[in-house]
Symmetry: C2
Subunit: 244 residues, 2 copies
Amino acid sequence: MQKASAEKSDPIAAQLAPVGRETVQDRVYLELRRALIGGLFEPSQVLTIRGLADALMTSTMPVREALGRLITEKALEALPNRSVRVPPITLERMDDLLRARILIEGEAIALAAARMTPRQIATIESMLGEWDEMRALKHKKDVDREVTLNQAFHFEIYRACGSAVLIPMIESLWLQSGPCIRVAIYAFSDAGEVDTAHYHRTIVKAIAAQDAKEARDALVADISRPFTFLRNKLEAEAKKDISA
Amino acid sequence: MQKASAEKSDPIAAQLAPVGRETVQDRVYLELRRALIGGLFEPSQVLTIRGLADALMTSTMPVREALGRLITEKALEALPNRSVRVPPITLERMDDLLRARILIEGEAIALAAARMTPRQIATIESMLGEWDEMRALKHKKDVDREVTLNQAFHFEIYRACGSAVLIPMIESLWLQSGPCIRVAIYAFSDAGEVDTAHYHRTIVKAIAAQDAKEARDALVADISRPFTFLRNKLEAEAKKDISA
DNA sequence: TTATTTGATTTGTGATCACACTTGCTTTGA
DNA sequence: TCAAAGCAAGTGTGATCACAAATCAAATAA
């Protein structure tokens, strides 16, 4: 046990953080997760192991394990052909996802409202500023940054809820609704962005006041908006298809 | 495309259901799931890929993929040593799990109460009878059957909630609380069983009356009981350890 | 021209191997 | 006698191969 003794005797070793190894599989998994939450894959798109392995510059082994994990959390779908695809968007599924997100993320933010420290509140407050900046130079609509910032804002809150059980569930829900969200954001006009900022400001205000109910209501409004927007769009298209 | 043409032309093929192939990996995954929900593994027990592969009479490949899937749904835990174990029981984790189960399973049963058909209600009603039978010959305490029947009862209800999103989450929660539940059931005296039957009868009655609130309350009481029982037991042991 | 068949390519699955790291035990030196 | 070094068995990870099933394309027959 060279390492243990070194830790005890060596004074400079005390201030060294353990350098947790990450496997190739983890990197592949996280990369695919990022792509899914960000909506980089089309709904109904089929993914092949060898195709992803080539794109990610690795062998098939880490990819197939990462795909298996994503399938179990319903972020991907295993077809009877044994091929895997990103799940298609349907109205029923969207309603189902939104209901679950309201239930679970609503609970998480209510818990967080009672537990967030001033330091954590300052963090999410500063994110509002970033949002304003982005809106200021909106000539270049940076959807990627918008998605990333939105995710950072919400999960900074959820992490404070103190539940190691709820947070993975929320991550799974974001993974599942990722493809929908991206479609919605792309279709959003500039009118949508000001509302996003408005709801986020309301959320921060409610959390600062430790008002769990107000925070939950604002969150429900925030996450409902892209879903109802996309719902209207899909219904309009369905009607158009019938009339055509 | 011989199959497609056969399906169209052959009249007897129309009434044949597709016989979805199952892979070895799926069998391993389901078997490990069953073992975890049933609490066949000890909390904190470490599992090795080669050990499980030998026990399941297969190669390491399907096992490692199944373990990876179980780790992502938090049914197993990956230690920094890269070894995997079934998560240990702590008071915080139990409270966390119970809160999440009340939230999500409560919502599922409330939805189901409004949607269950008379046929489905008859099914869960007949399960009450099975419970009575088992209690009648309670000389041989069959924990396995008790766990299986309890699971069948609850999931017959949850399946009726009509949400493809909530059900996998509930499965994940059962997977995570499996080890706790088994410990609780083992410690249960006979007094516990009559209460189980009582709550289940109340649940069936409430669902038959389409009373969502009553059904949710009875369910909360039902799933809370083993947790509070185990909680008391652990706290008593902790106190004893301190005094000793 | 259209529908069917046949062959080649692609794809997922399981097994096996090589390598690096961990772990537990034995041996060595003070 | 005891701690440290060294060795050996065990374990997870990634790569590669073999095989079966699916998919696609060209060729053939009606």
